[in-house]
Symmetry: C2
Subunit: 198 residues, 2 copies
């Protein structure tokens, strides 16, 4: 059964995750947390060990939300190569969607945690690796299905894709201009068409 505390924990994360994502670890204070949730420190510290523990849970919460959204979107096709196109299609709406999350958690927390918070940075690394592995697997599935040329290195391609996407997200947010994401997705679509085709 769902205890009261579990509900509260979920509620806290819902409210607090975008705040940590937007502001970063150091710039989010516990009074930000109590003000936003309407709860007291007693409730917060009853559910989370400390600020770092809360920040990590918040990051995981946001990533889970995001991953579910991608996975749902990719379920629109069974073809590996079509799924690749669905990835770029997903990111074409990412600026709007990620604003709800308080920005891209990987970019924000990746940069924020660097030199600041080892545990948090470790979590970001793990998420990036997981994403790259999933994309690489998708490409390998495509090779196996005869949709994608067996010439290409799946993991390398996945890393390139990821790198370009993160660059586009950074530029779009910093310049407040969706051009960067749209243009990068065009570029990636072209790469898929030209480099992956059988």
């Amino acid at each position: 059964m769902t205890t009261k505390a579990e509900l509260t924990s979920q509620y806290i994360l819902e409210i607090v995750a975008p705040i940590f994502n937007k502001n970063g670890y150091a710039a989010t204070s516990l009074s930000d947390v109590t003000n936003a949730t309407g709860l007291t420190k007693g409730a917060i510290y009853g559910n989370f060990k400390n600020k770092e523990d809360l920040a990590i849970a918040a990051f995981k919460f946001t990533v889970k939300n995001m991953m579910k959204r991608i996975t749902d979107h990719l379920s629109n096709s069974n073809s590996p190569i079509e799924k690749l196109y669905l990835i770029t299609d997903f990111y074409r709406n990412y600026y709007d969607y990620s604003k709800e999350l308080g920005g891209c958690p990987i970019l924000n927390i990746g940069v924020d945690a660097n030199n600041q918070n080892t545990l948090l940075l470790q979590k970001v690394k793990e998420v990036i690796e997981r994403i790259q592995d999933q994309v690489a697997t998708l490409i390998e599935d495509g090779i196996e299905a005869g949709e994608i040329s067996s010439e290409i290195n799946a993991l390398y391609f996945a890393k390139r894709l990821d790198t370009m996407i993160q660059g586009a997200i950074f530029m779009t947010y910093t310049m407040e201009d969706d051009f960067y994401i749209q243009d990068t997705m065009d570029l990636i679509d072209n790469m898929i068409k030209k480099e992956l085709k059988i």
Copy 2:
């Protein structure tokens, strides 16, 4: 002439710029500043209006350093297209070099200032625009010199280049793996070769 205060200001910036760059605005405290410099608050506040003013000066200091380094490197050739290759060549050593600066100032402060510090974010935007304009001008020079195809849109290409580079820097720092920068520079070199050629 150089007054005492000007020397002190420069000294403070030299010491403090990498700290702000590494930690970000909120996570850098004035005691970090006084401890690192060995000066007191009196000296700091005598030379800078407040913490924000210092952070902006620190960002400009780091960018100036970086820009000089790039400009120096590009002076190794007079050919516009060769200069483009010198840009990727510069970034191949960027992981090592930028560590001295406390990381890439554009990436770090761009992400850090977002949702946090309007003035600082504005400075980042200006620097990005300046860089893109310079690269675009370089490409236009190449077109005029008959080295580069007149088909391509100089500013679009400059933006793509910048976006890919920033993505590579983010990934290399977050994953602590220079692969991303090297691979992206290979990719860009290829783009220059294939897309820009006459």
